[in-house]
Subunit: 379 residues, 2 copies
């Protein structure tokens, strides 16, 4: 936790549950990524956290933005971001969404199949398009399904069809999986993209960019490579696979940019063995759970770090099952990977959940069990 | 789909995605349950769908209500329901929530451990309490975890401690699991509760009721027992295990009451093989998914029925992967259990998802990917 967040919690004593985000930290992440890959263009993935304070901060630093819906276009434009700095990186869009984006002035769109390409040609004529490749997600802690992306052969054909439909074939994209902890994942994907790039050049199509999506990790509870290491791996692969000069790199970081900047401040609702014997784990119920924003604990994929008021006394820790506040029995955060917490932890204690700036505020349900959406503080 | 909903969709052509609920159907469900177990008291589980129109309808029919938070207390009281008709059936409550409920006039509370009992004694002195037992969930399609409930031995002790703390030990509760399709599940749980009931009588404590929670199923795509069959199984078990006269039955139906009354009306955003060969399944993307309210498709647990405009032509169906509209790759509804859909299905077609009245509107995220919460129509 940053000193600024610690001070805010001490002085303001905000009601729980809430999310507190340190904007200095977001700024630091942007600059570190920019320094690691200076010639790249950064499109912040708005879905990770669309708070206006974050959007304005990144806009001032020169960031571009990737959006997923008309709703996110509106949020960005309301934050003062011009349409020219927005890419529509979602491959699946209603015709209405495309027409809306086109009318607002967006010029760059993703796709991964002929049906979507035809929609783009009809509703955003003349726009720039990039085709998403399906790549392996080895090494990602939140790997992506087969929901998006196509084969190299299909991408090669589709980008030519794009030209025939009057669109501008501008790039290729891929996503190595969210919370990607292997720097090598990028090299393989870049090699694949380069193959298509060179074949398309022979057809008279020169792509402007390779969009490497997001995936850069946030530190949760196990070591991750530095952003410089990712930068070096990417730069090396680009030099190797584009010996005659590489196209521009586009990046769509979401989790990387805001994950470490946020802390969820929560309260213990109940801590009890509930009739189990001495050797059974305690159940600790917090006032935030899977339906209050911590959706990425599904399958116990993302494993957060917890800070309690009793952390000095490390000797007294015992393994706990952690659950959320709703009366939905699926609302359990960790049951297989027990969390060691101090024996002294009791009802009413405040607990901080670190690195929760991304994919928390928006996953929150509208009011399941009558609990209101998460309070947010951007400082 | 009821004729009333069909007419509404044809005449009103509402924007998608939306939920349409037929209140006549809710009324029918209430009456059928009341007829199946005439002496029971029905506490509608507000979390299943807290729409004011549903609450008012059930209140007029004589229903009681089970709530899970101060937010749900407020919703109910605003709908004109008196505090005396509300039970706080959630075993995990903040001290503030208990104090709030007590101040509003609620008198009946659940618990399953000594820590919660002490909170109740302090913040709702003199209240009636019931202890939740953990029971097997065999036969449930949405089985509950070990998050709630205690052992029979512990319940026996706790209800005596409740008396010692100045509270009124009023009942035992259990939950056989949501979407329970076996009528036998209730018999075993009733036997267990009866054992504790008789032992407590010897200690001078006579419980008023056995609360059998919810669990009665909604028809999705495979046959379920009728509510009369459940009623008979429960009545028989009560006579068997309470030969000298049974305590009152309390029921907390949620899904049963509203599930079959609702239809989600959605639009096809994209239908494509996305570069796969002829033998690969199509991907069909709808404008509602796991983050727009269909959270119970997690693990493909609840399998809905889909109606399309091309259903006459059953010969042309082929298996599809069904996905939601967000650019989150976890937002896939069915990938293992492919859904046979007409070959003619295309972008822009309207699709109805049946029996979606429960656990949809409130699971919806506040705005993930910039998509607004689900529109709701109660007719």
């Amino acid at each position: 936790m940053t000193p600024k967040i610690a001070r805010f919690l001490t002085e303001q004593k905000p009601a729980t549950p809430c999310l507190v985000v340190d904007l200095d930290c977001v700024r630091g992440q942007y600059r570190a990524l920019h320094d690691a890959l200076p010639s790249s263009r950064i499109h912040y993935a708005v879905k990770a956290n669309p708070a206006p304070a974050i959007l304005k901060e990144l806009n001032n630093l020169g960031s571009f933005f990737d959006i997923a819906s008309p709703g996110e276009i509106d949020i960005c434009m309301k934050a003062g971001i011009p349409a020219q700095k927005l890419s529509f990186g979602h491959t699946v869009k209603t015709a209405r969404s495309i027409a809306y984006a086109h009318q607002k002035g967006l010029t760059l769109y993703a796709f991964d199949c002929i049906e979507e390409l035809r929609k783009l040609a009809e509703h955003a004529p003349g726009c720039e398009v990039f085709c998403r490749l399906g790549v392996l997600n080895t090494g990602a802690q939140w790997p992506l399904s087969r929901k998006f992306g196509t084969t190299p052969e299909s991408a090669f054909t589709l980008l030519q069809q794009a030209r025939d439909l009057g669109l501008k074939p501008a790039g290729l994209s891929f996503h190595v999986g969210s919370q990607q902890t292997s720097t090598e994942a990028y090299g393989d994907a870049i090699a694949q993209a380069a193959g298509i790039y060179h074949r398309l050049r022979q057809q008279g199509i020169t792509l402007d960019f390779i969009n490497m999506g997001g995936g850069f990790p946030t530190y949760y509870n196990s070591p991750i490579p530095s952003i410089d290491q990712f930068g070096k791996a990417i730069a090396t692969a680009m030099t190797t696979h584009f010996p005659e000069g590489a196209p521009r790199i586009l990046l769509e970081p979401g989790r990387y940019m805001v994950g470490s900047a946020g802390v969820v401040h929560t309260e213990v609702v109940l801590s009890s063995k509930r009739g189990g014997g001495d050797n059974t784990p305690r159940w600790v119920y917090l006032d935030i759970g899977r339906f209050g924003g911590l959706a990425e604990t599904e399958g116990e994929s993302i494993r957060y770090t917890f800070q309690t008021p009793h952390d000095e006394n490390t000797a007294s820790r015992s393994p706990c099952i952690l659950a959320g506040p709703t009366c939905d029995s699926m609302d359990v955060l960790y049951e297989k990977n027990l969390v060691p917490l101090p024996e002294e932890l009791k009802t009413g204690d405040r607990v901080n959940i670190l690195a929760t700036g991304a994919y928390v505020s928006t996953y929150c349900s509208t009011g399941f069990n009558g609990f209101p959406p998460l309070d947010e503080h951007y400082i």
